[in-house]
């Protein structure tokens, strides 16, 4: 048979007959295995029970998580001392009860088995004591600290501030640096230009409650930044239900941006403008609004490149001018200082400052000072002037600009406090495992200066230390970090109150009066020359945004976040060189082709991803990927944008060259078809405010019960659970996706699993492009089990594993499921997920700690899907029926949602929000005509279009 006509086609290791034999044997053995008894288990009670703990009942502790120095207050659910879930702290100004994807996923980072452990010296185990001895022996100790360099993340912690003050007093020659790729240095410089106040740079604090018109200049303020949860809430509160009657109060958002962001998707008008043209756009806008006090007006060369957008600029200017004192102009952190200064100027001209924009000193230590620049440290290292380098919590070797790498090895000794054995750890003499925020004592300020106490929920799992611990050694301060944090409180009562509430009694720091310095702005404008490169040849610009999933790379080892689909592109497990459709066509590139992106003589390889709505001539390459540390998940995924990013072009640069390498890469994208294919009426209702006002009546037919041969009415039990999702305020930020994953023990499947369509998210965000293919509107739709009253899945299950409960839930019974997948096949919403493998089996004992003990960990061969967080519903019922007046249940997605787009509750309770919303004139059921009678109702998406631009 082995001749040419009948080659052996498959050289499989297992032949078919062998496979059948083994399968038969396995089946037989499985039967035998079933005849064993369940293994004997142990009960291990406390030796001395903490009086507040009742085993089996979760407790919540208030603490704070920081990102780039700014705190977000959270409540952490703890099961017998094991933190499992993060919720927002309603009392905290930066949270207002909501959380983002980073906060939700931080609990997975806590149990990451790749975390650094203990103290090491050149790779071998050392002790904390030995480290302290070495630190005290440095040559700098005899020279007032000359030769000691400390590099920290930007911080707002009063305790760290106090320690740094002690260090500066003790070692006056020591150098202290702060660095994070996402820090707000440009915003601080812009505020310095505009207001010129001494001391800490000012930061704008926005109050969008009073803002009718919002202009975002490359500012992704709905998904990034220290106050984004608060801003998203305020933004959404002006766009909520009942907008037909109160339409006049609906705000209008203009987003000017090069890459497609969450804010752009939520905007009413979005202009795709290359990053380099944002400054000219801002100048033209300021010019159109009018700045009479600006001597000499706005230089023409600065605003000339914005000519193509003249119509839009004029329309926005008129809209802004009509809303003096009731508008806001925001500038993005990547944009150069002049854009920030011009945004301040516009807010000043529009009389917004003091109304919707307050200027206040930044909570970040040394904000706006030279210490936030990495260059002096790089210089000192190169010059050999560093004896001891202490790097605290920032993976600076990886994130440093490509033209100024940190030659850590040139220091005599270096100490790195880091969460992982990452790029910086590899070069440092000593590494110290960093304690996770849920293992640490500390404090931190929110964007408005409110102080939160960071309190530990668990002993450090891997012997971690905090930055304050190391600084205390340098400062010679005795006592633990807890003592230092505690010592800032005079009495016990305010301390206890701060621990319980999550914020101290001091409240926010007040705004300061700020007067614009027009002369300084004029001077800065004259100095500013747009980096346009050579004229003539259409050049590409490259933009390095922070990644909405992994931020600056610190979360790249978090499987929940790397498998979280990008809110706009739906890409998972990697980054990509994003291009607009026209630019991709011009360069003859398509999705998945590998390209070499060359910028200023350096290059990286990345797959191409075409993103409609991106500016033409712009290449986007998100930061945070292409890691080369020892972390198992992060290592080698995606392209390292830091290899291109220079100190002159930290966010954007002209003159990138993109060239196909000929290789192809499969892109793990969760949603390939982004078109509604004309089924807008069935799937996603959307309209402009005017359209909606003029024609709401035609939709009534979509709301009634469809005709049916037999009707299943819900039974008359106490509760009938239902959900309403307001698409007018959903931004698609995806916090709910991670919240659901954390609450319901949803596994990750890896890039290969995503390529096969096996992702397990119970709640996904479908996002659709509508309108012009080049400049589409993006509409996000959270899609989860619709809990149909007449559920198609239930009819086809041969073993009754999915059935209906009396309170209106579509139940999934894992222990009955035999995995036929008929239900998934019959589900029109495609929300059922099948466990192809035992995704949880490979987890070690530490990783298992993240599981919610109230939810089954599903095994292979079982179907699963959204349960409406039934564990919370049953907990609510039991507590309500035994203790009385327990607060109404909230689902995990609802609790996390920054904009409160998701409303859940008892439909039978008259006047309940969900009952009201389900009857709202905007409410509709997805795929209504199928007659499934879903319990999830969507509310039509409304965009407040400017009539002038329609």
């Amino acid at each position: 048979m082995n001749d040419e006509r009948h080659p052996v086609e498959h050289d499989d290791a297992i032949a078919r007959r062998d496979f059948v034999k083994w399968m038969g044997a396995a089946l037989g053995l499985a039967g035998v295995a079933a005849c064993t008894r369940a293994p004997s288990q142990e009960i291990v009670p406390y030796v001395i029970a903490p009086p507040e703990v009742i085993p089996g009942r979760a407790r919540y502790y208030a603490t704070a998580l920081t990102l780039d120095g700014y705190a977000t207050g959270v409540l952490v659910e703890s099961h017998e001392g094991r933190p499992t879930k993060i919720e927002g702290n309603p009392d905290h100004p930066a949270s207002l009860g909501a959380t983002g994807a980073f906060e939700q996923a931080s609990v997975l980072s806590l149990y990451d088995p790749a975390r650094a452990r203990g103290v090491t010296r050149s790779g071998s185990v050392a002790s904390w004591q030995a480290l302290g001895d070495e630190l005290r022996r440095g040559a700098w100790t005899g020279r007032a600290g000359r030769g000691l360099h400390v590099l920290l993340e930007p911080t707002s912690s009063p305790t760290v501030e106090q320690l740094l003050t002690s260090i500066r007093a003790r070692w006056p020659e020591a150098a202290i640096h702060f660095y994070a790729p996402g820090s707000a240095v440009n915003a601080w410089s812009g505020a310095r230009i505009a207001f010129g106040t001494p001391g800490r740079a000012l930061e704008p604090r926005f109050d969008l409650r009073g803002a009718d018109v919002i202009v975002a200049l490359d500012a992704d303020f709905l998904a990034h930044g220290p106050a984004y949860l608060r801003l998203a809430r305020q933004f959404a509160d002006r766009r909520r239900y009942g907008i037909a009657e109160r339409g006049a109060s609906m705000n209008r958002l203009y987003a000017i941006e090069p890459l497609h962001t969450v804010t752009g998707a939520a905007a009413d008008h979005r202009a795709r403008v290359p990053a380099h043209d944002v400054a000219p756009f801002a100048a033209a806008l300021l010019d159109a609004i009018g700045a009479p006090e600006l001597a000499g007006g706005i230089p023409l060369p600065l605003r000339a490149p914005a000519r193509p957008y003249a119509k839009l600029v004029a329309a926005i200017a008129r809209d802004l001018a009509a809303h003096r004192g009731r508008s806001v102009v925001l500038a993005g952190p990547g944009q150069p200082p002049i854009v920030h200064a011009m945004a301040h100027a516009m807010n000043a001209v529009l009389e917004n400052i003091g109304r919707t924009v307050m200027m206040a000193p930044s909570p970040i230590l040394d904000a706006g000072e030279a210490s936030h620049d990495l260059a002096p440290l790089a210089d000192a290292l190169d010059a050999g002037g560093v004896d001891t380098l202490v790097v605290l919590g920032t993976n600076a070797v990886y994130t440093a600009p490509a033209d100024r790498p940190l030659h850590v090895g040139r220091a005599r000794q270096s100490i790195y406090l880091g969460a992982h054995e990452d790029e910086t750890a590899a070069l440092c003499t000593f590494t110290v495992a960093a304690a996770h925020p849920l293992e640490s004592w500390g404090d931190a300020r929110a964007f408005d200066g409110t102080v939160s106490i960071v309190q530990p929920l668990i002993e450090p799992l891997f012997g971690g230390r905090t930055a304050a611990d190391v600084l205390a050694v340098l400062a010679g301060t005795p006592g633990s970090t807890h003592d230092l944090v505690r010592a800032r409180f005079a009495a016990d009562a305010p301390w206890r109150r701060a621990l319980a509430r999550g914020i101290t009694d001091d409240g926010p720091t007040g705004p300061v009066p700020a007067t614009l310095r027009w002369d300084a702005i004029a001077a800065a404008m004259a100095r500013f020359t747009a980096d346009k490169g050579g004229a003539g040849q259409p050049e590409l610009e490259v933009v390095f945004p922070l990644d909405p999933r992994v931020h600056d790379g610190r979360f790249t080892n978090n499987a929940w976040l790397v498998e979280l689909p990008d809110p706009v592109s739906k890409l998972t497990w990697t980054n990509a060189a994003t291009l607009s459709p026209d630019t991709a066509a011009r360069l003859d590139l398509v999705d998945g082709l590998e390209v070499e992106v060359r910028f200023q003589g350096r290059e990286v390889r990345a797959p191409v991803l075409v993103v409609p709505g991106q500016a033409d001539g712009t290449v986007g390459l998100a930061l945070g990927w292409g890691r080369s540390g020892a972390e198992e998940i992060a290592r080698g995924r995606g392209a390292n944008a830091y290899a291109l990013r220079t100190s002159e072009a930290p966010y954007m640069g002209m003159g990138a060259v993109v060239r196909a390498t000929g290789a192809r890469r499969d892109l793990p994208i969760t949603q390939r078809n982004r078109r509604l294919e004309g089924r807008d009426e069935e799937i996603l209702h959307h309209a402009s405010l005017d359209e909606h006002r003029n024609a709401p009546a035609g939709e009534a037919k979509k709301r009634g019960r469809p005709l049916a041969l037999y009707d299943v009415r819900p039974s008359s039990t106490e509760h009938q659970w239902a959900m309403a999702i307001d698409l007018a305020v959903c931004t698609g930020c995806s916090a709910c996706v991670v919240a659901c994953q954390a609450e319901n023990n949803v596994p990750t499947v890896g890039p290969d699993g995503v390529l096969l369509g096996r992702e397990m998210h119970w709640l996904r965000i479908d996002s659709y492009f509508t309108g012009d293919a080049r400049e589409p509107d993006v509409l996000a739709q959270p899609m989860l089990c619709q809990h149909c009253e007449k559920a198609p899945c239930e009819y086809v299950c041969p073993v009754n594993a999915t059935v209906h409960s009396s309170d209106g839930l579509n139940e999934m019974v894992y222990n009955r499921c035999v995995g036929t997948r008929f239900c998934s096949n019959n589900c029109p919403y495609k929300v059922r997920r099948f466990n192809w493998f035992d995704y949880h089996r490979s987890e070690d004992a530490t990783e298992q700690l993240v599981h919610n003990p109230d939810v089954t960990v599903r095994e292979r061969g079982v179907m699963e899907k959204c349960t409406f967080c039934v564990q919370r519903l049953r907990e609510h019922e039991i507590r309500n029926r035994t203790e009385g007046l327990y607060p109404p249940p909230v689902t995990a997605c609802q609790q996390a949602c920054p904009t409160r787009a998701i409303v859940f509750g008892d439909k039978r309770r008259p006047g309940s929000p969900v009952a009201r919303l389900s009857e709202d004139e905007r409410a509709y059921a997805a795929l209504h005509d199928l007659g499934t009678v879903p319990r999830v109702r969507y509310l039509k998406s409304i965009k407040n279009k400017n009539p002038e631009l329609a």
Binding site: I43, V44, I48, G56, S805, N815, R874
Partner: protein
Amino acid sequence: MQSGAAPMRQLFSPAANSIYWTAITLGFVAILAIPAALIAWARTPYSTGKDEPEEQPVKFDHRHHVRDDGIDCLYCHGGAAASSYAGVPSTSLCMGCHAQIWTESPELAPVRESYFSGTPIRWRRVNRLPDFVFFNHQIHVHKGVGCVTCHGRVDTMGQVFAAQPLTMRFCLDCHRAPEKELRPLDRITDMDYRPDRPQEELGRVLAKELGVRKITDCTACHR
């Protein structure tokens, strides 16, 4: 085949037909009998562990503590009224009494050792439920289900054993007709409780009074 060769040997013996039919029949019987046997086996006391005492690290005797000393169940298993989990007492709770009485008893050596060394006592679990079952003590205790109903006369057990099979049928029997088992709230932990009037009548009254529901939704226990 060439003519003149020896007659070919019979391929099948005379018994082949009988063997064939027997095998087919046995095959069909096995298809029915094996699952039936497994289902039956899973319900045997051997499989459920019913009536089988576990060897515990401490020779704790419920007969003495409950019957002789009159200690209420909730004194040690207080979680039953406040949580899903009834709880096993901490070593310090044991020592609350045994720091005063029987301080020298060799039977109590493991307890003292645990207390002074800080290592917990590792008890053997007696009443096991599968991981996909979420039983909640709190609601049962507050809705008139006595300890004895599921745990039996623990006050007569030297070594505790599972008094009931804790199979799904056992749970559902009561969930479908809770009035058969309800008792007044002040007699929940009473080991000797006897209803003072016919149980059906009392059960109906109590069910109404306590607002007991007949919950047979799957997600009541499986989440």
